[in-house]
Structure formats: C-alpha cells, structure tokens
C-alpha cells in the first residue's frame, strides 16, 4: 500500500506530533507514504467561502498532483478530507464547473484534474484498504483497560451528501478501530458535535462552551481518553482545556497516535510531550 500523504497545514505547524505519529503508524504497518510537499492548503472551507472557484482550483491542483504521482491521497485531517471530498463531489456533478476549474488550472500550472484520484483519511485507509484483521495482528501493545471516546469532527459527517461514513448519524468507524486496538470505545452525547474550533476567532466564549461540553461529555461517560481524526478538533479539545476547566484533565489522542501506540511506538516517537494534557497511560510505561 502506497499513498500520497497530504499533510495539510496543522501537521506542519501546531500539530507536528500528528505527522510524526502518522509516519510511525504507517511505518509499522508497512504503508508507504510519499509526502506531497507542493500541495497547498485545502482552504478549510474558508477560502471557498471567500471565493468558491479559487478554492476549487487550489484543491484540483492537489488532486492533479496526486494523479500525476499515480497514488491515492491520504489525509490526516478530517477538515482537509471533508473539503477535498466536497470539492470532488461538486466537480463530478457539474461538468461546466469542472471545465472552468481545469481551464484556469491549466493556464497557471499546466496541470489537469481528471477526476480519478481517490482521497482517503488515514482511518478510512485502515478500515477499507488495510483491514482491521491485519491491524489486529499487528497490535503488540493492546490498549486493554483504556476507555476511549471518539470525537469525529463535523467534516467527517455533515452535510451527509459529502460524508463517506456508513451511517453519518451513528458512525462506528472510529469505535471499530478503538476495539481492534484492544481499548473499550465509549459512546457519549457529544461525540458527533462541533468542537467549537471554527468560531474560536469569532466568538471564543461560545467556541469554548462547545469544547467544554464535548470533553465533559466524554468524561461523564467514563472515558479515560479521547481520540480524534481532526487536528483542529485536537487543538481545541487539548490546548484549551485548562482555560475551560482545570479539573477535566482529559488526554486527547490523534487517531494515528493511538494506532501507533498500540503498535508499540514510544511516547517520544509520538511527541506526546507536546500535548497540553499528557496521556497517563503512555507515560506510566516509561
């Protein structure tokens, strides 16, 4: 298995531990990654709101680059994944828009998006292509005793027409991975809610209320840790916790971190020390 790794912005900036964990997990699973060092920001929906065609051109450029590499794209951010899928679905449904985007893309880059590249999040690649049975066999440090609450991130689920989840109103994809790693999944009311990140700069008070509700919801349901496939959710859930309620103390894992940890990775490999709330389980071992 070989993917063109689309890092997005956060894994190169405030979430470098995510990139480290992705390489660690994929290395241990034998999944080959070729980093797309020339792919631009997906726009996180913001560039598309500012200028829809421009947003599409930037993303079509990324798709065309992967097509040229002959590899499917692996995303490690739910927001990037959601924006990419929405762009692909919209372009596929609207040939006139596709033509316009390609004409502009060609003018500036010489590239053309053929509409063929597959775009998958890391966890979708594990479920659909790597397979959970193989993953179970690769686990060397089962996460027995850990109670993990999944937090999906809006872009994975909604609007439904752009979601790849089997049942976006009651998904079980992350819970299946959690079980495979030997931990117990914890379901709670807020697992499908917004983390508040998108309005952090516009209305911090409301944003942190959403974040606090999610973490408290997981804690009240008995979770000892949370896991998310979105580094933006991770920023809010982890980095803002002390500002919301110091007593929460809920460690939040990136999904590749949790996978790599069950495959035997050390806390250093996963850069767990960069977390604002450090996961006790990982540090108890060292």
């Amino acid at each position: 298995m070989k993917y063109a790794l689309y890092t997005g912005c956060v894994a190169k900036g405030a979430g470098r531990e995510l990139l480290a964990a992705t390489y660690s997990a994929c290395g241990k699973l034998g999944i080959e990654l070729v980093e797309m060092t020339d792919a631009a920001c997906c726009g996180a929906g913001v560039i598309n709101e500012d200028n829809p065609i421009l947003g599409d051109i930037i993303n079509a450029r990324t798709f065309a680059q992967a097509e040229k590499m002959g590899l499917p794209i692996m995303n490690i951010c739910t927001t990037c994944q959601g924006v990419h899928r929405k762009c692909q679905i919209k372009l596929a449904a609207d040939p006139a828009r596709m033509e316009k985007v390609n004409a502009e893309l060609k003018k500036d880059t010489g590239l053309e998006y053929k509409g063929q590249v597959k775009v998958r999040h890391f966890y979708e690649a594990l479920l659909e292509e790597y397979g959970l049975e193989r993953l179970a066999k690769a686990v060397t440090r089962p996460l027995t005793g850990m109670k993990v609450a999944a937090f999906y991130g809006c872009y994975a689920m909604r609007p439904h027409e752009y979601s790849d989840l089997t049942d976006p109103d009651d998904p079980n994809e992350l819970e299946r991975i959690i079980t495979t790693l030997g931990a117990t999944p914890v379901k709670y009311g807020e697992r499908l809610k917004c983390c508040g990140f998108p309005i952090l700069m516009m209305n911090k008070r409301n944003a942190l209320k959403l974040t606090g509700n999610a973490v408290a919801g997981a804690k009240n349901a008995g979770a000892t840790g949370m896991v998310t496939p979105c580094p933006l959710c991770h920023l809010n859930l982890d980095a803002y916790q002390p500002e919301i309620d110091k007593s929460l103390r809920m460690p939040v894992w990136h999904i590749p971190q949790l996978v790599a940890y069950a495959l035997g990775a050390t806390p250093e490999e996963l850069m767990l020390k960069t977390h604002i709330i450090r996961p006790k389980e990982a540090f108890a071992l060292v």
Binding site: G43, I47, K193, M202, N213, P242
Partner: protein, 319 residues
C-alpha cells in the same frame, strides 16, 4: 406486522415538575409515516399527547420533531426507517422551550427572522411604472432559499444555538441570503453589515447540521457560505470573521500553507489589545510544550504557482 415501541417525551410544565418518557406500543402497517403513527396513538390510545401537525404533505412545516436525536418532519418520514432495536424515540425539537410534550415555543425562532427584515426593500427613489422583473438567472440565485417552510428542523439541531440563544440561526440567515442576492433589493450592504455583527453569520460553526436536517432544498449552510462570500466581495471586512478569511487569503497566497501565528492575530485585529491578550494564555501553553507553530512559517515547494493562481482571483469572482 412488527410491533414497535414509541418512546415519547412527555411534559406539562403547568402540572409536572420534570419531563418523562412514555412508551406506546404500536403495530407498524406497511407504508405508514411517523405522523400516521402519532395520530394513531393520539386518536386510539392517548388523547392527551400533544404535537403540532397540519398538512401532512411536507408543506406547512408544523410537524418537525427530534427522532432518535435528530430533527425531521414526521409527515415526510417512513416510520419503519426509524426503528432502532424495536424502539423509536421522539423528542421535541431542540434549542426551544417546551410548552407541552412535543409542542415548543417558536417565538425565539420567529424573532430571529424578524431581525433579518425578511421583506424586499427596493430603492425608494426609484418609482417604476411596472413591476420589477427578474430574469431566470437572477431568480436561480434565490430559488433555494425561497423554499424554506420554516419548520425549524435546522434551528433544532444547530450547534451554535446550543451555546448562544442570541445566534440568528440557520433559517434566518438563509432568509437573509434570499434578500441579499435579490436583484430588486437595495439594502444588500446594510443587510450584510448588520448580520456580520456578533451572533450573526460569522458565528455559524459550519457543523453542517442545518443542511443535513433541512427537509427541503434550502440547505442553510450553503446559503450562509453565500452570504459570507457576498460580505467578502462587498468589502464588509470590519469583523473577526471577515478578517479571518482575509488572513487565509493572504497567507495561503504567499506560501501555499496557512501561517498559524499570523491568522489568529490578524483575525482579532492588530490593534485589538483585549483580543490579543486573550490569545496569550494558549500561546504560552503551546510555547512551553514546544507545540507552537514555527516562527518562520512553512510553505510548499512551488509558491510562485499558487501566487499566480491567487493573483488572478478577481477574475474568478461570481458576477
């Protein structure tokens, strides 16, 4: 015929201290809607059960309710599709005070509509001799928003409203789009300025619940994206939301990737001392943990190419 338990939220604030759930067991006949089942319960089992309904045809918007945690129209949904382990759980719509059982007070919902002044305001100096006409292309821009049946399903599941009862909500913002994009309306800029304020369009979290729950083609999130686009094009930039979008444009066009140090500062405003101070605690926490974004921002290999795409962006704007 399969027997199904309808677990229904019951509450009479005049007589009861707290809400409760009541179970009704009903045999599902093939092809029945959820509303058919509720009518059967009310007419044959328990006449005290209260809910709103009228047309039964997804036109009047009365029968929105939460089923298994998500809002939908009872008249538009097959009951058989809603059964989970033999049970259908029904609650009143969210973000609204309960008056009786599944009936909620919709006054806050209507109040949000009034705030966006949902009526045409043409130029008063213009005194045409005949009605103001629209071309088909002009109408297409507002077609989706005009299909709102005001059922409040979007309002019910809106994540922003859960933490801010002053937020306009998706339906009212979609209604604003309907007038902002109307070729006959003369108040576009005023409307954009008004809904750019706190609790307005930039407070939408983009969670997508509204578009997912909307039983018609309004898809409020898509309409909110359009009013944000109009605000950016119109130069209504004096707020955190618009500055955030500008920061994206500026940094991605320069290096191909986002500059995470610049975006928060630009969004709250360079001279907004209080806003900048609010960024400090998290910045410090991240710095101590070496989690801060690199001081020299990262970028992609071929930045020139992305700059070229961005520099021609004005050509791509919609008319």
């Amino acid at each position: 015929m399969a027997k199904v338990t309808f677990r229904i939220f019951r509450y009479n604030p005049d007589k009861e201290q707290a809400s409760r759930y009541q179970d009704y067991i009903v045999s599902l006949e093939p092809g029945v809607t959820l509303l058919n089942c509720l009518n059967k319960i009310k007419w044959e089992i328990d006449p005290t059960l209260s809910y709103r309904m009228s047309c039964g045809s997804a036109i009047c918007g009365s029968c929105a309710m939460k089923v298994n945690g998500h809002a939908l129209l009872a008249c538009k949904t097959q009951a058989s599709e809603l059964v989970r382990d033999g049970v259908i759980q029904i609650d009143p719509i969210g973000n609204s005070p309960v008056m009786r059982d599944l009936v909620v007070d919709l006054e806050p919902f209507w109040g949000a509509f009034r705030k966006v002044e949902p009526y045409l305001m043409p130029d008063s100096r213009d005194n045409p001799e005949r009605e103001r006409l629209q071309t088909a292309a002009q109408f297409l821009k507002i077609d989706a928003a005009t299909q709102c049946i005001m059922c409040a399903a979007c309002w019910s599941d809106c994540n922003s409203l859960e933490v801010d009862n002053l937020f306009y909500g998706p339906a009212a913002l979609a209604k604003a789009q309907r007038f902002i994009y109307d070729s006959r309306d003369a108040k576009k800029r005023d409307r954009l300025v008004e809904i750019s304020k706190l609790h307005g369009m930039w407070d939408c979290t983009h969670c997508g619940e509204c578009s997912t729950r909307c039983p018609t083609e309004v898809k409020p999130l898509a309409r909110i994206e359009e009013i944000r686009e109009a605000a950016m094009a119109e130069g209504v930039h004096g707020n955190n939301g618009a500055r955030h979008a500008l920061a994206f444009r500026e940094t991605v066009s320069k290096r191909g990737l986002l500059d995470e140090n610049y975006v928060p500062v630009r969004s709250v405003g360079f001279f907004n001392i209080m806003g900048l101070l609010e960024l400090l605690p998290v910045g410090l926490r991240m710095f101590i943990r070496r989690k801060n974004p690199p001081i020299i921002p990262h970028g992609i290999d071929n930045r020139k190419e992305v700059r070229k795409i961005f520099s021609r962006q004005k050509e791509f704007r919609r008319d």
